[in-house]
């Protein structure tokens, strides 16, 4: 049992519960529950976006990958940053202008037909659960590794925390948990970075030179981890287009007052998260240099303990006070990282179920405020319990498939439908349904037929399906549109949609 880590984690947990208590008093209306009353500043949203997007996969995974496999780890870290360009240029502002709380709102604003909303809901729920399950499993493994608490207890602890944050504090609590996590994460990274540089007399080239001498020039070349070049391309496409279809990150844009603030918050997160991703590359190389690949793999085969071990080394090594404090701090931050992400996921899924499904699909929007909020809170609880159950069952399962799958579905189903809704006049409900179907089915099928599930008997040769499933998603959208025939009313309404998407006003606003 690692008491220092447990203690620090306890502090972070206490802070987040205090945040929730403060937020709960300010969360009464649906606008407050789903969008924090639209009152966040661009900087606040930027930090929250960084906290939401940088999962433990980024914090621990990228560092570990770089330490064990060299350049491929650096590649992995680049994609999540470039992905924000797609968001900034195509999605953030129109989304803020045309939707209210969810991705479904945007699709519904464009199509005004229930099948379209249903398709959007399915896309949101599938992506969110595919993302949530590995996060819960990862939480179980990580907390057990870092603190000694059992896997099941860890999953339950994370699950109950996120239920409390979301059900009581809604988007306001979620946001501030994410902001606090981002601040801690960046502080930890800055501390480790300064120490790394101090150890090499502020000449980082020593690190790169050192690992090359130790592991050969191949270490700093691509291909050590992702052996198939098409797999690399597929992964890159998945990230760069998938973020724009990820509901729990995209709905963060509803928390700011207008499109301009949404735009600025992307700049904030690009610099915050981007600097962080570059740092993970330096950390990985430093860990390989100071500690060595073998020792890292002994500690954890996937390299997930690389960053905590590096921190421990820089603090003075195992057994020293500095070493243990550093290890505890970085480990606690890693655990906090998971809480922030799963809260965001739970809130976004609650939006899909309570707001899209219950209020809009089933009750045609005829539900009073208080009931809407109550249903939203209830949905958060149900989702949380489901997440706990799934997390416990996922122990030992290869959750890497799910992580890839979530981003891939976002890129293959959600992204094509979203972008076409905002840009193509002819696009209609048939296209939404077709795009979702083709995108969902192809990504899931190809993932199940691929090496991650079938190993050497794989029918589909790539771990990442995106390179085929994303074009198929677009194809399904086009085919569905053409097969559904022309909808003149929908097409002439597109002018109003464009006006609203790019200016925030509608001609029929009273």
């Amino acid at each position: 049992m690692r008491y220092v880590t447990l203690g620090m984690f306890g502090v972070i947990l206490a802070i987040s519960l205090a945040i929730t208590y403060w937020a709960a008093k300010r969360t009464r209306t649906t606008s407050e529950f789903y969008a924090a009353g639209n009152r966040l500043s661009a900087a606040q949203n930027g930090f929250a976006l960084a906290g939401d997007w940088c999962s433990a996969a980024a914090f621990l995974g990228f560092t570990g990958l770089t330490a064990l496999y060299g350049l491929d780890g650096a590649f992995y870290a680049l994609g999540p940053l470039v992905a924000f360009c797609t968001v900034l240029f195509l999605i953030a502002e129109p989304l803020r202008n045309t939707g209210k709380y969810t991705l479904g709102d945007v699709i519904m604003y464009r199509m005004q037909r229930k099948p379209a909303l249903l398709a959007a809901v399915i896309g949101t729920i599938v992506v969110n659960f595919a993302y949530l399950m590995p996060q819960m499993a990862g939480a179980g493994v990580l907390i057990k590794l870092l603190t000694g608490i059992s896997y099941d207890a860890s999953v339950v602890l994370v699950g109950i925390s996120m239920i409390v944050y979301v059900a009581f504090g809604g988007m306001l609590a979620t946001t501030w948990v994410q902001i606090v996590k981002a601040v801690f994460m960046l502080a930890a990274a800055a501390l480790v970075l300064v120490l790394v540089l101090a150890f090499v007399n502020f000449n980082p080239l020593i690190l790169f030179d050192g690992v090359e001498k130790r592991y050969g020039t191949n270490f700093l070349l691509p291909g050590n981890y992702l052996k198939n070049p098409f797999d690399q391309i597929s992964l890159a496409l998945g990230y760069v287009l998938g973020l724009a279809g990820l509901p729990h990150v995209m709905t963060r844009f509803y928390t700011v007052p207008d499109a301009k603030a949404a735009r600025k918050s992307v700049i904030w997160v690009m610099f915050l998260a981007g600097s962080f991703f570059i740092a993970t590359t330096i950390f990985g190389v430093a860990a390989a240099y100071f500690i060595g690949k073998d020792a890292l793999q002994v500690a954890d085969r996937g390299g997930n303990l690389t960053l905590p071990l590096l921190a421990q080394y820089l603090g003075g090594g195992a057994g020293t006070l500095g070493g243990e404090l550093m290890l505890g701090f970085v480990s606690a931050v890693a655990v906090a990282t998971i809480l922030a992400v799963v809260s965001g996921l739970t809130l976004a899924t609650s939006g899909a179920i309570a707001h899209d499904c219950y209020v809009n699909l089933i009750k045609h929007g005829q539900v009073d405020e208080r009931r809407q909020v109550r249903v939203a809170r209830g949905a958060a609880v149900v989702i949380g319990v489901l997440a706990i159950v799934l997390g416990i069952f996922a122990q030992g399962v290869n959750v890497a498939v799910l992580v890839i799958l979530a981003i891939c579905i976002a890129a293959s189903a959600n992204f094509p439908v979203l972008v076409l809704s905002l840009t193509w006049r002819r696009f209609n409900t048939g296209g939404v349904v077709g795009g979702m179907m083709f995108g969902l089915i192809s990504s899931i099928a190809l993932a199940l037929l691929g090496p991650a599930v079938l190993g050497n008997d794989a029918v589909w040769p790539l771990v990442n399906p995106t390179i085929l499933s994303m074009p198929l998603g677009f194809l399904g959208a086009v085919l569905g549109t053409l097969l559904a025939g022309r909808d003149r009313a929908n097409e002439s309404r597109f002018d109003d949609v464009l006006l609203r998407a790019h200016t925030g006003v509608s001609p029929s606003d009273a």
């Binding site: 350049l71 650096a74 080239l205 070349l221 610099f271 570059i278 002018d495 200016t503 029929s508």
Partner: protein, 105 residues
């Protein structure tokens, strides 16, 4: 009445959208080509990636850093142009719609 509100707004909107497309299409082509291009290069031209540029830093690392910088620069360019050119246009559009709405009521 709605026709009267929409006509000047419509042409203003079209002009705004044309301006946005003129900026966004090149930006999108640049960042996508650069990023996917780098990935293609990494997959199929490993020996090229090995060229040392600055000390032990090879072309691969340099290109990765370049793509970080490119993403940041393109984003800042867009935000700058949007703030200086598009936002005033949007304000004008909205004011125009407000006025026509007031005249109509």
């Amino acid at each position: 009445m709605t026709g009267a509100i929409r006509s000047p707004a419509r042409s203003q909107l079209r002009a705004l959208l044309a301006a946005k497309i003129r900026l966004l299409v090149p930006l999108i082509i640049i960042y996508l080509t650069s990023y996917v291009g780098l990935t293609v290069l990494a997959g199929f031209a490993k020996t090229t990636m090995a060229y040392k540029i600055v000390g032990p830093l090879n072309l691969g690392l340099i290109l990765i850093l370049f793509n970080y910088a490119l993403a940041w620069i393109l984003a800042l360019v867009y935000v700058r142009v949007a703030g200086r050119t598009y936002d005033p246009e949007v304000e004008r559009l909205r004011a125009g719609i407000e006025k026509s709405r007031q005249c109509a009521t």
